[in-house]
Amino acid sequence: MRSLATVVALGLALVLTLLMFGLPVADSLRLLGEGAFGDKFGISRTLAKATPLLLTGLGMVIAWRAGMYNIGGEGQLIVGAVGGAAVAAALMGKVVGPVLNPLILAAAMAAGALWSGFAGWLQVARGVPAVISTILLNFVAIQLLAWSVQGPLRRSEGGLPQTAPLPADTMLLKFDRQLDLHFGIVIAVIAVLLVTAFLYGTRSGFRLRLVGASSTAARANRIPSERVAIGSMMLSGALCGLAGGVEYTGITGMLGTGFPQGWGFLAIPVALLGGLHPLGVLLSGLYFGALFAGSENLARFSTGGTTLIYVIQAAAVLAVVALAPRAKPAKVKEAAA
């Protein structure tokens, strides 16, 4: 019932947007659908775009479930990619690609975990709410990226502010050279399963949910909620960092100031639409992936202009939050639907 309403509202929001911009509705919808599912290119694009959203979305689930409002997915993703690029710069040519790639991903996770762990520590030890600190850290991360591609990681003095491109054998496995789809989607799906098992099937996962639901109750029951809070932030940051590493070694192959695509920000709607549940994230991540692939296609090939893509994405997000059951970490309904 609710999902039907959501679908209807999404459709309406879309049609309204198109009408507002004076675009032919039927044609535009066709372009949208084609971009997402029209052919193997569309489907592969949908999956490729869903990949970072799934990983960052899972990251948000973990943190928010622990009661930590991590809004820094974007920063953690960026820092993850930078960490990965630093390892790549240090080891490129010294280590063969198939070995280097996992090292890059591991570095990305570590960098993301440290970045978010800092925010966790700030909240726990210094009383700085993560909502605030992670927002601030996002901007620091963006500048860190800018600085590192202008400075230490720049491929060559005087060249463009970018890192050297990764050789093909260091990139994640691709299933077809013309397609965008890469091995990252497999990593993301495995992550969904692991996070589900963790949250609902392990003692640590239970403690994490408990601390999020009531840190006072956790304290009164001698659960080290501060450690859990920091741990959840680190886990969350590790997933976001991994998203950065996967995007770097799966799609872009190098870093520049244009690297951040907002996946980290979009992780929040993805996680909320998914009901802060890892399996929900799987669905909402795919939905947003399709939406992005589709709207990109629409923006490219309709007469609306490329800026239209933002409008469509915004409309889709707003339609979702207008209808999605409200979710607030501390009051997340644990009850089965």
Partner: protein, 320 residues
């Protein structure tokens, strides 16, 4: 099946290759900034429009910076585009890479040093225009200080600034050339602030590479009563009334000729240097403000222009 794609062609519409049928010719343009920047990207967009009209091509364009470039190129190639322009040297390397996977699409970047059978480049020698602007500023400055305001700090911009500086020094040895970057080609307020900063340090001629933020530069010049140069497009008629001359790129013919060669199948990779001699670069004095420059200055500038055109004077440019 990874890596086997080089022999298969995109499935959307069989690419017509170099010798496609009319009406079926598809051209895409990638720009580093919004095409509404009334500058670098806008100029390329005008070139694309010319292709649409003259060759009745289907055109499309998108903004794509560094890491987004490959993705955008791939998506056009997947859609069976025949020619993909990347407006800037940063598109050259991605073009080389993506072109391997899409042999039926031609990739061209504005500047860049690598080519392949289906990858070409043309480089706008805008440094020539900037040199003349610097030369003009050097002759006309009273304070002995001139300034350059940059948006994004990228090599192509730095190269034009070097030429401006060389021109200024040629005209007035020992001149101070101030250089300030704002980090954004869209932040008008910062551009104005940076310009005010340069003017407060004594600059009385200012050139910019700030694209959409250029109005901030002109505004500051107008406010403080100093002169500005336009860049990329002819900005002499800017409402500020502060632009004495512009160093311009005339991109239309270059884009059109290249597209024609792709369409009729005569395209063969390679790099073309597009300078004043091809009419691709110009330095246009503002007739309305001609009286602000002494006749001697105008004459000297024209002499230098002639030297550049004749090849007697080679304006420095960076390779990147």
């Amino acid at each position: 099946t990874g890596g086997s794609g080089s022999s298969s062609s995109p499935s959307v519409s069989p690419a017509p290759g170099a010798a496609g049928a009319t009406g079926d010719f598809k051209v895409a343009l990638l720009t580093p900034g919004p095409v509404s920047d009334a500058g670098w990207s806008a100029m390329a967009y005008d070139g694309l429009k010319a292709i649409q009209i003259d060759l009745s091509a289907e055109i499309n364009n998108q903004e794509a910076k560094d890491t987004q470039i490959r993705d955008a190129m791939r998506s056009y190639a997947q859609k069976g585009y025949d020619l993909i322009f990347g407006h800037g040297f940063e598109y050259n390397e991605p073009a080389i890479e993506v072109a391997k996977d899409f042999p039926d699409t031609v990739f061209v970047s504005s500047s860049g040093g690598q080519t392949a059978a289906n990858v070409g480049a043309f480089r706008f020698y805008l440094e020539q225009g900037f040199y003349l602007a610097g030369y003009t500023a050097g002759l006309a400055t009273k304070s002995g200080k001139v300034a350059m305001i940059g948006g994004d700090d990228v090599p192509s911009i730095r190269s034009t600034f070097k030429a401006f500086k060389a021109g200024a020094e040629a005209a007035k040895p020992g001149i101070t050339v101030i250089e300030v970057f704002t980090g954004s080609g869209q932040d008008i307020a910062k551009a104005k602030q940076a310009t005010l900063g340069a003017i407060s340090e004594g600059a009385d001629f200012v050139i910019h590479q700030a694209n959409a933020a250029a109005q901030g530069v002109f505004d500051a010049c107008k406010e403080k009563g100093v002169w500005a140069f336009g860049a990329n497009l002819n900005q002499n008629d800017n409402a500020s009334g502060a632009v004495v001359a512009s160093a311009t790129i005339v991109a239309g013919p270059a884009f059109l000729n290249l597209a024609k060669s792709v369409k009729d199948g005569s395209f063969k990779g390679g790099i073309a240097l597009m300078g004043m001699d091809q009419g691709a670069i110009d330095f246009v004095l503002n007739p309305a403000l001609q009286d602000k420059l002494t006749p001697e200055v105008v004459t000297a500038v024209e002499e230098t222009r002639a030297k550049i055109l004749s090849g007697e004077l080679t304006v420095p440019k960076d390779e990147f």
